[in-house]
Amino acid sequence: MSQSHRIAGGQIDRSTTLRFSFDGASYAGHPGDTLASALLANGVRLMGRSFKYHRPRGPLSAGSEEPNALVHLRSGARQEPNTRATVAELFDGLTATSQNAWPSLRFDAMAINDRLSSFFTAGFYYKTFMWPAAFWEKVYEPIIRRAAGLGALTREDDPDSYDKAFAHCDLLVIGAGPAGLMAALTAGRAGVRVILADEDFRMGGRLNAEVLTIGGQAGGDWAAGVVAELASLPNVRLMARTTVVGAFDAGIYAAVERVSDHLPVPLPGKPRQTLWRIYSKRAIVAAGATERPIAFENNDRPGIMLAGALRAYANRWGVAVGDRVAIFTNNDDGLRSAADLTAKGVQVVAVIDSRTDGPLLPGIRHLRGAQVIDSTGRLGLSGITVRLATGQTETIACTALGVSGGWNPNINIHSHHRARPEWRADIAAFVPGQGGPAGLIAAGAAAGHLSTYGALAGGHVQALAVLESLGITATAGDLPKAEDAPLNLSPLWHVPHGKGRAWIDQQNDVTVKDVKLAQQENFTSVEHLKRYTTLGMATDQGKTGNVIGIAVMAELTGRAIPETGTTIYRPPYTPVAMGALAGRSRGKEFKPFRLTPSHKWASEQGAIFVEVGNWLRTQWVPKPGETTWRESVDREVLATRRSVGICDVTTLGKIDIQGTDAAAFLDKVYCNTFSTLAVGKCRYGLMLREDGMVFDDGTTARLAEHEYVMTTTTANAVTVFRHLEYCRQVLWPDMDVQIISTTEAWAQYSVAGPNARKLLEKVVDQDISDAAFPYMGAGSVTLGGLRGRLFRISFSGELAYEVAVPARYGDALMRRLMAAGAEFDAVVYGTEALGVMRIEKGHVAGGELNGQSSALNMGLGKMVSKKKDSIGMVLSQREGMTRADGYRLVGVKPADPKGVLQAGSHFLEVGAPVELASDGGWLTSKVYSPHLGCDIALGYLKAGDQKIGRRMRAVNFLTGTDTLVDIVSPHFFDPDGERFRG
């Protein structure tokens, strides 16, 4: 098909032809076209099917407010659903397909919904799918979702990248129409830093769609001239294709720049879109106004659109939407569409003017006091029925109808902080009210000044006000001449006639009838109206429909519109792709990850890694021939307990604490005492929250009188440090204590097993015999002259040390330890083996340190010193936390050694009914112990300390298991601690 509907003029480059396809058919267009303008130029009006009734639909608008013309843009992995054809910039090779239609757009089987529409009124789902409740999720909702819907996801990874960026300015101007351009020009010439953002690819706003002149120039040319001057100013940044989507606190705005959406694929190194965070001192929202339709029966056929859109397609894109055009208006702006189209040589068959006193257009059939009451045409408009002022009806054949019910100022951004708009009767529209985002002011049509001169003046005046508030004096300039005509609007929201459906919200298929039903059922508040009918809840947020919906409700309830309610909007102004919100944070870059200094060495050994906090830790290291993880873990445990094993513990938090009050400080933050710790020794410490629950644990060593080094769990390293700063600055501000995190500064390795000392004696320069370096000893050492630290602490229950060196020597130390350990068959062990050995010893870790457990629960109640004040000490003594039948840490073994335990199982007495009242506690951590040859576990059991030796059941509903278990001491292995003291 050739561009049969293309007419002269427009801001398109006819010297270049772009090929594109829609639903498989091939078309031609030009640079400067949108997908909608190019399809209309090719005579294609039908672009989609409606959400609920699958009604044939074409574009209602020529901008971002579009409710109907939503398509899948592109194909394959780049396919994007719900793209508005009215703003999709045409490029060569563009492919688009219709959505929500099967088997085809022209014949859609689901259009049966339209025949059944009397069933699908507002509240249909609420009333129909109430019973049985279980059916909702499994049966009703999937069916409804399939039938009612928007576009489909490809479920393929998006091949493009998205960026986030930051910008700062004195003044952000949102929208580059006459008001925005004038504001940017005024502020730009005064030298302040200006950002001018506009969602369109061509700045100028409505000026590009009009034939109006400014200072004797065509409006579009004037706009181009201003843009050129702004581009020459170093203090002005122009951001086209950039939609400001939200206002946030302190002058921060979010904006989406469509960097590459107008290209087949992004240029190398360029993102598809960029999410901007713009920090502004002031902002002017000059987002213009959106035309609204008038509801009448069957007012949703392809070919019926907003009158301003009809003339925009003619003026900007050189497209006559139909060969016979009619206009239905209640204001003078609608007449402008008729005049422009006539001037373009398009046949205007009638102007249906609901007013009786509108100015007459020469040479056009002008039906004053008339209303359009119905339309015909199955897949596109073929005619309208008009009720004349005399009361007679007349049928008029036409293929396009422009409707103008007035213009709604774009109050969206202004209302993002819940500022209520105000009603202005003269234009029958809401305008920005008091209390918008601080520093933001509306100008031009967005403020209700709908004439071109009003926009220019508003932009200029508001920019001067901004400059003055920034302490810059600028004098008012002469404004160019421009039209300044009033709208002369006589409100008409819907045409009362017959029993048919008149659409208010075309995207969500909400009709006047639905509003009536809501009113009958007493959902008369606008918030109820919205939720009951889904008015304004679609992706267009009801930009064209909300005010009509409120007006109809006002009429039904006999109230004034502002009494009935207002409409406000939430961010985002237009839909934002998830990719843009995610930016670079996807896949492996979803969050930062940290590697220990010997990570490369571990990789060389074939280690399997696990995420612990942000760290990657060695989980286990499989050897050739090992086919399951359990084989590897069992071997690591047995080899460590038999001879020696090495584990990377660098990830544990390390905090250096110094100062004359360091000891007193530790006594405050730990529930046990550290001021009595001898220099050169370390001690296990338990840290509580103020509510008495255990926060964290670790060992802390006293390196000198006023110097300690604390270790924290890997997971809590950051929060413990934050807590210590809080205690130091907020609670005890005069304590002489300084802290710094040294987690990254030291690489640290645990060397554990009967041969640990023999191995370390080959590496450490000093005497580390039991006499010279006893259990819980700590201090500085050298390793071949390299400074290091040594701690004789044991998590595994073996004779064990932790040795630390500056991080950059971590890899070398790991290799040295493994070489020195070769004669002892030293193994490296990971977090799984570590977990086995700590449970064999009954040490608490993640599953037990769950934020809901006290020291008493863990069997560590005696650690809480009452002789001093410490965080959490008082509240740990609360009645509910000290009860004798509270949870206590116990060990668990299956009654049958072959039995399998599962973490999360609940303890019940044998014979007790399986119900909540019988619940005795739960199993927190479970491993297979190669020493005991069976599963072992830890758990919290009510009065567990009095139930050692009892046989119980471990019941797990998730896995449907019910296992007989024996409650035992949590110290499964070497309960007297002979090994680690060795």
């Binding site: 600055q729 005069d734 001093k868 008082v874």
Partner: protein, 94 residues
């Protein structure tokens, strides 16, 4: 949201971690105050619609704890002080 750091000037709120009501500064002495007093200190808060003094931690910055006075209705930030100075002024020491 922008927090006017008393030392570093205006900083984005994303650099901070929020804790809560600045009344946490007035921690009772555990050796003299009982469970009731601590319970009141830890759990009972005013919930004003309006000015609220609250603790923020500049974690991705200089590690200062701040007392920020914020209007909970408008998010306007009236002032930001070093929590240490506030704590000392309220009589806290060691």
């Amino acid at each position: 949201m922008i927090i006017p750091h008393p030392i570093l000037g205006p900083r984005d709120a994303q650099e901070f971690v929020y804790l809560g009501d600045a009344s946490l500064i007035d921690r009772p002495d555990g050796m003299t105050a009982g469970i009731e007093v601590f319970h009141d200190y830890l759990y009972n808060r005013d919930n004003p619609a309006g000015l609220h003094r609250e603790l923020w931690y500049h974690e991705q910055g200089d590690r200062s704890w701040l007392v920020v006075t914020r209007d909970t209705v408008t998010h306007e930030i009236v002032s930001a002080e070093l929590a240490r100075d506030v704590a000392r002024a309220r009589g806290r020491s060691k």
